[in-house]
């Protein structure tokens, strides 16, 4: 049904269909049944060209695993990923080919840059690996990129470990963008940095996107950043997408109880404004052999008796806004009847 909602297939850069990624758990006994940790389960998402797609959720909910799967680092157990209309995991070669157009910006810039490399080596590494560029071209491009991210040509000869976190992240951004990739995963790009440089890095990312028309998959805890950057977003809980669609619509009208709880935790600018905090009880359910129905039901303040068994499917509550909650969809179905 959702496929029909698409405006145009050509606009889609990356699409996942019922993507599930599972990791085998270590067995305690030899004859024990193999337990699987379900990191991403049944996720169907479309990322359009040139947009910034936000992926929000608490730690361990499968955001990074999803991103890694789209980069070809985590093989899905079931479901498909299409990059530019081509299935990503069809052959070994297809991952390699797709990766020519992909890059990633990591959470911790200190560990994403080899401390033994100079900035020039680090920034030029993708070009050197790809091969086929002459020396002058590499040098010119390196200078161009390093000035574009706000450092100077002099810095090219210094070691990456001599820079501060914010500067290192700029170098990492320069490296990611040097080959003009179509798709960049930003895996919490500012959460390891000082608060004072958050805005600088985010602005830089937006600036670069305007220049290059790159598509970002933006993973973050920081809802304020997501609100500023993302045009569309998906909210994940325990490996499943619970709410998905236009960012503005989700922020204006959160429907899923988990989304409501998340948004209620955002601080507002006005200190006098009374906000109702929704505080969730308990801990995240274990992702090992999770319940078949709604995965949020054990902590949900709107849960009904049979939530754990009822099927959770993303349902359209308004145009470009999908929610997977048995209560909400149940109500909607009742109204339609």
């Amino acid at each position: 049904m959702r496929q029909e909602n698409l405006k145009n297939n050509r606009d889609i850069l990356l699409e996942t269909r019922n993507l599930s990624v599972e990791f085998p758990m270590k067995k305690k006994f030899f004859f024990e049944k193999q337990k699987m940790l379900s990191a991403v389960s049944d996720v169907s998402i479309q990322i359009r060209k040139g947009e910034t797609f936000g992926l929000v959720g608490e730690s361990g909910c499968g955001k990074s695993t999803f991103a890694n799967a789209t980069l070809g680092f985590a093989k899905p157990r079931s479901g498909e990923i299409y990059f530019n209309g081509q299935p990503l995991y069809a052959e070994k070669k297809s991952v390699q080919e797709a990766r020519l157009h992909m890059q990633k910006i990591f959470q911790d810039p200190a560990s994403s840059l080899n401390p033994r490399f100079t900035v020039r080596e680090a920034v030029c590494e993708p070009m050197r690996i790809r091969g086929g560029f002459d020396k002058n071209e590499v040098e010119r491009k390196a200078r161009e990129m390093i000035t574009a991210v706000g450092l100077t040509g002099k810095d090219l000869d210094r070691y990456t470990s001599q820079f501060s976190g914010g500067q290192q992240q700029r170098i990492a951004i320069a490296r990611a963008l040097i080959l003009n990739p179509e798709y960049i995963v930003c895996d919490e790009p500012v959460s390891a940095l000082d608060v004072s440089v958050h805005a600088q890095i985010l602005n830089l990312l937006m600036e670069m996107q305007e220049k290059t028309q790159t598509t970002y998959l933006f993973i973050s805890h920081n809802l304020a950043a997501v609100k500023k950057l993302c045009s569309r977003l998906a909210i994940m809980y325990l490996g499943k997408v619970v709410e998905y669609g236009d960012a503005a619509k989700i922020f204006a009208n959160p429907v899923h109880p988990y989304t409501k709880a998340l948004l209620s935790a955002v601080l507002t600018v006005n200190p006098n404004e009374e906000t109702k905090r929704i505080v969730l009880k308990g801990d995240v359910t274990s992702p090992i052999n999770p319940p078949s129905g709604c995965r949020f039901c054990s902590r949900c303040y709107q849960a009904q008796k049979d939530c754990a068994d009822r099927e959770c499917v993303l349902t359209e509550v308004e145009p470009e806004h999908f929610v997977a909650c048995p209560v909400v969809t149940g109500l909607k179905a009742d109204i339609e009847q």
Binding site: L71, F73, Q96, R99, L100, M102, Q103, K104, F106, D108, A110, S111, S112, L113, N114, P115, R116, E125, P126, I129, R130, Y159, S161, A172, R175, L179
Partner: protein, 314 residues
Amino acid sequence: MKGFRLIKKIAQNKQGRIGLIILLVLAVTAVFAPLIAPFDPYDVTMRDAKGLAPDKIHWLGTTITTGQDVFSMLIYGTRVSLGIGIITGIAISVLGSLLGVAAGYLGRAVDMIIMRIVDVMLVIPTLPLTILITNIFGKSYVVIVLVFVLFGWPGLARTVRSQVLQMKNADYVKAAELSGAKKGYIMLKHILPGVSNLVVMSTALTSAGIMIAEAGLSFLGLGNPTMISWGKMLSEAQSSGAVLFGQWWMIVAPGIGIFLSVYSFMRVGFAIEEVLNPKMHGQGSVKKLWKHMNGTYLDEVFDTMEEPCKTQSK
């Protein structure tokens, strides 16, 4: 450039400075042995100068059976000891680190095969097999070096592998993979430089161990009989009854030689490790030496280094 910086750091370290000085003296002695030695140590025709006590002409006396000049023998012995120690140490480091990196990074079948070989090599009793091999293939130094390398690499390969396993999950390796880097590129550009400092350290420590082992083999009569080495000097002193005649200098001289060379290598090795890994500062060198003899030292050093890439950058 980087190698020079490391040497400078070692020289600044109190432990390392002494080691470097002794090592330099020994190296000069070995290289210029013919110029320094007052007599030809291979000359066994001095019938009237057998078993002399130290005097102004023969600084450390002469041997009992052949009348060779002990001081000249000592100086020529430096060549064999240092040569074998350094060559074998380097060979072990190259082989051990390459196989360790391959096992750690490539994983799967490669890892399985290499690590099973390592397991087997580590439980084989070394000395009996060494005796066997030198008896079969002849007592040349080539054979002896090969035997030492054969038994030396598995320990290093195992420790390097455990380090690589931590390093291969680093984000910069992931980033290189994402850019389409081949496995060879990542191993050469990212992984091998990451363990290089540790390999240098283990080279120094292994060389020291090899020098002792070589002396031991020569003492047992398994060394090259045509060359003068410190082990062989000890062996000759013992068989010609130096203790009986009270000629202690024949035993003490090569003993001091062995001690100095091993001690200097150990000092340099410990200094490299202290430079690289400030966490290991607290322990005395006797304690470290004991651990090294028991084969647990390198493991401990590797364990305390959580991120090899970060310690290097400081």
